[in-house]
Point group: D2
Chain length 295, copies 4
């Protein structure tokens, strides 16, 4: 049943490898007082290191099981995570994996915090009752490199569904034999924002930064006239960089969730940008990175 | 290629039939002023009537195409829907289908309104910028019967994800040879609420009723101690009936989105209901209907 | 924190209740010989009975926990399920719940068997290696009523995605002011079949019946000219009843997964039913039940 | 309403940009004879080029609309795609975008072909009736670079769900204070294969290559004893490279779809690797690339 692996190793090489445990669904209740806090985080762990023997030799010597990574997320979820930022918890985890397993050279922890909203204060039981929010997930990537001892942090936002019912158009584009799209100076712009940014070192308060960046992003989405999804990306990116000096660059990817104006003319009904059909596919997908200009 | 159908008709009968168009994704922008309103509704249409010949005879005579139903949703979405309740729009649609197609005897329109939240008033562009809400979908079923000329209305709520971090337990249940569950007087109770209620005739304002019922539901979920999901259902159901005389009965179905306490004892760590793993399956599913008692 | 329940009980009544455990993901390997069999079943349990006190009184006395239902599925999955039909396993489960818990009056077990296909016999390791099939799920509903001692069985099929690239049309339908659909005598008909049938008592071999019914269904979908989805439903239903005397009636629900012919005329290209766009929404949804005619 | 963009441009720069149209759902029926062929492909287009002005200046001059990309997929789907490989169609598309739009410097076309299986030949109507297959999607990435005039091709496979009911174990791994996993020399190994490989130039027949590679992959998954998911990846990768000289390297990513052995001991029932619970999360995720060794 066993396939002899030696001949293959002579001819072929393993040029890349990594492994980890994904979708660890950690919910942490902070109950130091009757007013509970809830942290709801999906944690993915990925490790790089001296793991070639596992691929080549049928040996699992000295490698952490992905099950142990899961245990680690939950154990350190108790001892090292309560009201702090997920970026800080991610750093603890990433450093732990490098520190405790000699063969682990680099660890990346991806965290997605799902928002919960507390009930209004006048609701009895609001100290411990929440409903799921829709303000976007707080995402973070924390990576620790054992060789250099450095920990790098990126943060981002996803699953934020926003819509402008006007102040958006698309005109003046290329027309070829295969172009049928009409120009419009008034359309719906709807998208699910996915943004990712790099922090300068020594950020004081990752949670405060994230909230402030999200606020800038949403307000700029609202306050500008969109000439294209591309223009909206640049507008948002520069607004974030202007407002938040701790951000070095920001990458934004926006699906264009098309809302097509319905042609009601066959029924003798005017449709002055009032009736749309929301479509799933196909969809435009536009991305861009905005960074600080070199001095 | 054609299968002769006559012999079959002698031996077999069509005992039930219906058809319609589902997932009509209507977005209606009300732009009578610079402060736009957005209505985002998924409409399903289903018709019953004298359609047997379509099944039996290979004839489509006098039956509305589902494509026409789609056109109807969008055309009447312009002429008969703006800031009013989806229940009223549903009634217009249901009555239209019965009135315009002689073979249609009964029409049911199912509407799901997806919540959008306007940006704060101090945000420039808030007149026309929204983000998706998470306060639960407003659901309605409106049915019009051509024979009796009656229109009946049910409403409901779905996709409302709520969680209590305490004030929930489960003790004293049956123990058999196959029971392993430990009793607990302190657990997480999390669920996605699905509720459906019947209105008395002559409701003044369906939108106002829905909002008030949702508020009662959420506050009661928060303010009581849950002895079981069943008890929570009865608590919520009675709270709605007490508060809202226009509701005749309410059916609530709650999946128990289990959050399992993680055993950290093997690591020498105490877990006093602080660290949980959120699970997808299996899940408990509990339902009940509460109605006004007969006099 | 506790809501007094007595006043509510005076005014309101619980008119319906049920509960159970859903999405029990049982995988059973039959390894009596080196040639393994795999059974992959999702089991949902639902119970009805004397459970009012749980809703009304905050007492869980004598009721089975849904966790115990889960344990039961897996324990009996070992002792009472191997190569037999899921209908027979469902009967064992349903009867068990009624027999072992005095308050349970009726139990319904819903089973969905996911198909796996063994590798070809000439593949080394085919005795224990499988890939997921796409021949449709085998679905069953088995219900046991404690009062009458009867067990009833329904079976069905879902998630079978089929397509006819021709031999399907739709003409002669109602045309109103809101109709824009063109007639066509040649279109794609694509659907995901959902079928459900009632068995006469004393079926010998549920697995053999299911396979034979599925075969009739697929072949009739292929061999007839479809004048409408409705006509296809009646054709398939009668074919099943003609071929399989153990079937009393069959209900078929077909979503019309529209494949729209793309208009290439603006580009000077003819499209003779060769290029289509597959769409997700909206979709037609058509249903019908065919039964044996009364004597 | 317009945000002045000039100051931002002085301070910030656009360091990356791209855009395109995703999820073009092309279905192509080849009907040169009564025996139809069906091609069902999801096409994503992404373009890179001189698009900065769109982000910075509010001008869409000379850029193709994503709607035009959609039209192109369907138009060329008629003229340039029938029974050939998706890799060849992808090359036509990628080269078209670079050739027809002066500002486009590079185009990448991602194609996913969904399998359909023809009905058995003895089924009437099998010439034009199909059911969805489960043999895995055929994936391809074709990129054309206008500057160099080169077209590169990668292919792959995804959504192939396979399972070994034995001949898989996991022993000898690292044990720390956070390790609880038991060693096992007999477990279920289940995964959804995602593979991606690079072709040498001048492949004759991409379709034939893909089918042969898939066959090697599946047979090797079956015929070896898995000491770890990592070992399985290397085994499969080397098998492909040994069998198919046109493959330069292959990257395989396997989620470990855990099937956990159910502990039936509390019920006095032995479970000799016969009863498992299929779980969704968390899951291990393992990846590796195998390449030909340098001479």
């Amino acid at each position: 049943m066993t396939t002899p692996q030696s001949p293959a190793q002579a001819t072929f090489q393993l040029t890349h490898n990594a492994y980890g445990k994904s979708a660890n669904r950690l919910v942490r209740i902070v109950r130091d007082s009757p007013r509970h806090e809830i942290r709801d985080v999906t944690v993915d762990v990925r490790l790089w290191g001296a793991f070639e023997h596992v691929y080549l030799d049928g040996s699992n010597a000295e490698i952490p099981a992905t099950d142990t990574m899961k245990n680690t997320v939950f154990a350190l979820g108790k001892t090292d995570f309560s009201t702090g930022a997920i970026e800080d918890f991610g750093a603890v985890l990433a450093q732990h994996f490098v520190a405790t397993s000699p063969r682990v050279e680099r660890a990346r922890v991806h965290l997605v915090e799902h928002p919960w909203v507390r009930l209004p204060a006048d609701a009895e039981g609001s100290d411990h009752t929440f409903f799921r929010g829709s303000s976007g997930n707080h995402v973070a990537w924390v990576e620790h490199d054992g060789a250099t001892g450095t920990t790098s942090v990126k943060a981002g936002l996803d699953d934020l569904y926003v819509l402008k019912s006007t102040a958006s158009g698309f005109v003046g584009f290329e027309r070829t034999a295969l172009t049928t799209l009409a120009e419009t100076d008034d359309r719906i712009l709807a998208t699910t924002v996915q943004a990712e940014w790099t922090y300068a070192p020594d950020v004081d308060d990752y949670a405060e930064s994230w909230t402030a960046i999200r606020d800038v992003l949403v307000r700029r989405f609202a306050d500008h006239h969109s000439d294209s999804v591309q223009g909206t990306i640049f507008n948002i990116g520069t607004a974030i960089l202007e407002a938040r000096p701790e951000v070095l660059d920001v990458t934004i990817e926006l699906p264009n969730k098309h809302h097509l104006k319905v042609d009601l003319a066959p029924f003798g009904i005017a449709n002055e940008n009032e009736v749309f059909v929301a479509t799933q596919d196909p969809f435009g997908l536009i991305t861009g990175t905005v960074a600080r200009a070199a001095a």
